[in-house]
Amino acid sequence: MKKRVILDKKAIGRTVTRITHEILEKNEGCTGLCLIGIRTRGVYLSRRIHDKVTDVEGITLPIGALDITMYRDDISKLRWPEVKKTEISFDVNNMTVVLVDDVLHTGRTTRAAIDAIMDLGRPKRIQLAVLVDRGERELPIHPDYAGIVCPVNENEEVLVRMNEIDGRDEVVIVKA
Amino acid sequence: MKTLIRGGRLVDPKTSMDGRYDVLIDGPIIGEVSKSIRRVDDGTKIIDASKRIVAPGLIDVHCHLREPGFEYKETIRTGTTAAARGGFTTVVCMANTNPVNDSRSVTEFIVDRARAEGACKVLPCGAVTRGLKSEELAEIGEMFEAGIVAISDDGRSVRGAGLLRKALEYAKIFKLPVISHCEDETLSGGCVHEGRASLLSGLDAIPAIAEELIAGRDIAIARYVDAPLHLTHISTAGSVEIIDRAKRTFRKITCDTCPHYFTLTDEATLTYDTNTKVNPPLRSQEDVSAIKEGLRKGTIDIIATDHAPHEFTSKDVEFDLATFGISGFETALALSLGLVRDGILDLKGLLMKMTVNPAKLLGLEAGVIAEGAPADIIVFDPDMEWTVDRDSFASKGKNTPFHGMTLRGRNLFTMVDGRIVYNEL
């Protein structure tokens, strides 16, 4: 399997730092801000952004993990998708929610995540931060913060590996 | 019309003949049995039985032909056709028809119908009590004159020891055996054996003692009035033990069991397959082992089928609501031959329990291949493998738990009174 590294460990670190600054800049600080990572790798990415915010601002933001399985639009076509826990212990009403995911592709996951959050309450606004935007959207969804915009061919796959679960940090493109 | 059955291995338990013999049938009786019959008249039908077993036609002391009254389950014609296929040349049909066979007219109807349409010989069993109600004795003498060979309230026990005592005493006039279905109704009321399987399935259960209690009671009464008693479809280790002990001091006790009681255990009911619902119920492994041991030791004299055909819809319901019974004619021989393969009985011993002993119980001259005897003969292959297909049964009753199973041993030819009624050779 041929692979092409588009972000290595250092590049991911720099990208997370940049996204963090963009979030703080756009929202003019941390007031009313919270982070919700989409399972699985969006959760680790959101934690890194969270830690970076603490470094920069000295503040800990509310952070949660979202499992979107129950909201998927293709659930009846999947073979027994496993439902994992959603852990959001704070009130999302009137918050600015930054949804964090690793890869943005069709936009369907984001749609499901938005619906899931709306069922939890009524946030002031929802923003989207992703590490990789690989294009080919199927829904009118656009990221507020994108680490790298990287169009790939149909027969290619973007894989994000994160140290917490994969043992290393890298973003690679592989031929399917 | 003459028929020559040539080249088969004759096994006749009555005469202890076992070897290559030719059998010449002349009309309804056996004309000659000898090592080699070379010269035959022109027009003699030759049956090649080489590599097969030639034996007396089997006699079933317990079956249900359902006519009159339940023709949608079976008729005398379909039932006897199934019996003939299975190797039976004489069958005893139980009295739980509608109307019940508790009077001369019903007995005569069965006898006439069997004579007209039966593929094999049918001997009716009369009811012990009118309507099988355990209230008053049926007209046993009149039924005897019409042709019954035994009396039984099969399906239930005669309630009330006093009434059974009278029946046993009264039947002595005609030397009729009383056939007893052993079931204490205050202890039964379920539909499967009480054991680990019923615990797992949650189905209401019938304990072994429901059978054993009545077996013990009936034996005690028979002994007291010195009358012959036959206990039918014995299924438990306890019953075998009780009968074994009784037989040592009282010779007029006989009993039978059925192929399903030495082939299947109550585990078969765990799938809720209503074809495994039978009364008495399929018992535990220990019971099955005891039944086999009883057959080996000779405590159990006879193998009967308890052929109990039912229409599909009566089995195609919840287990609790399903009828009791297994359609048994067409699998009985194959299942019984399993006893020979398992070393429980030798072939002669097995045939004894399906020919000589039933004939003795009923006082028949059948069950033997000898010159001058009725030409009731079967030819079977003890090793032929075949797959049970209920849809190919001659019986209307497709209710078999053995559907789809591969069995060994198959009857291929049946002759009743010199008439070939089944021929697959």
Partner: protein, 307 residues
């Protein structure tokens, strides 16, 4: 975990892994019932029929809420038709229902094996909502869920089941699940209500309630089933209450953190005193709450994905 089952017919068929998978899935669904918007779109467009041949409010409602919270459509069919009255046969009813293309049928029936019969003839997923004295799998799963929630574990516990073990599908299903996880299970009740051969299931039998509950981690009380002729197994409910009614003094000899369970509906003052039913050890209402989550999980696993 690769969930492959079409039907949920009994606990005895399930492996430990399958049970744990259901419990874990139920954990995810439990939170939904705590939200303001108690609904997810997961089973949108699916149809669940509850077919109840025995009166039951609790189980039927629980399944119905579970299905609705997953956005499935539910249809309730309650039939008090007893076996003796001449109605449509179960098979015909089921076939008719199937023509309406439900995705799942939850059946409660007075006769063991009725769900198995449906499973054989229908393509829909069949969930056993209680069949005679046989099994009540979702009850055992919600009990297991509640025990895990309260005790933090579901193995190595001393669990006492008290009542009519012989005629209780709740007892059977719980024995299968609890033994599978290696718990000590003690069945307590009058001998007329303890089925023969019960010890072959790996449980102990104790006729004396006081002795049975000593140091128990979990006490499960069963309902005295009057509708099953339960009273013919005991001289009177009054005497039963004297011998097998759970009171505070019993609870005091159990472990400090003992939990008291009851599948409901309770006969207060017969098998359980008010004091115990409403006391601090009682988790009876938690069972009801968890029942919805467990049934959501079961429905999700059976009809959520592609068959």
């Amino acid at each position: 975990m690769n969930w492959k089952r079409k039907d949920l017919l009994g606990i005895r068929d399930l492996s430990k892994e399958e049970m744990l998978f259901i419990l874990d899935t139920a954990e995810s669904f439990k939170d939904i019932s705590k939200r303001e918007i108690k609904k997810v779109p997961t089973l949108r467009g699916k149809t669940v029929i509850t077919l109840f041949y025995e009166p039951s409010t609790r189980t039927r409602t629980s399944f119905e809420i579970a299905a609705k919270r997953l956005s499935a459509d539910t249809i309730n069919i309650s039939s008090s038709t007893s076996s003796s009255t001449k109605g449509e046969s179960l098979k015909d009813t089921a076939r008719n229902l199937e023509s309406m293309r439900p995705d799942a049928i939850v059946i409660r029936h007075g006769m063991p094996g009725a769900p198995h019969m449906l499973a054989r003839i229908l393509d829909s997923c069949i969930i056993n909502g209680g069949d005679g004295s046989h099994e009540h799998p979702t009850q055992a799963l919600l009990d297991l869920f509640t025990i895990r929630d309260k005790k933090g574990r579901i193995e190595g516990l001393k669990v006492v089941i008290v009542g009519d073990i012989a005629h209780s599908r709740v007892a059977r299903s719980n024995i299968f699940s609890l033994r599978n996880f290696g718990n000590d299970v003690i069945c307590c009740g009058p001998p007329t209500m303890i089925p023969p051969h019960i010890e072959t299931l790996g449980v102990k039998v104790e006729y004396d309630l006081k002795r049975a509950v000593r140091n128990a981690d979990v006490i499960m009380m069963l309902r005295i089933q009057k509708e099953r002729g339960g009273t013919t197994y005991i001289p009177s409910t009054k005497e039963y209450s004297t011998l097998y009614g759970l009171g505070r003094d019993h609870v005091e000899t159990a472990r400090n953190d003992v939990i008291i369970m009851h599948p409901g509906p309770m006969n207060r003052g017969i098998e359980i005193s008010d004091e115990v039913a409403d006391g601090p050890s009682s988790v009876i209402l938690d069972q009801v709450e968890n029942g919805v989550a467990v049934r959501m999980a079961v429905l999700y696993l059976l009809i959520g994905g592609e068959a």
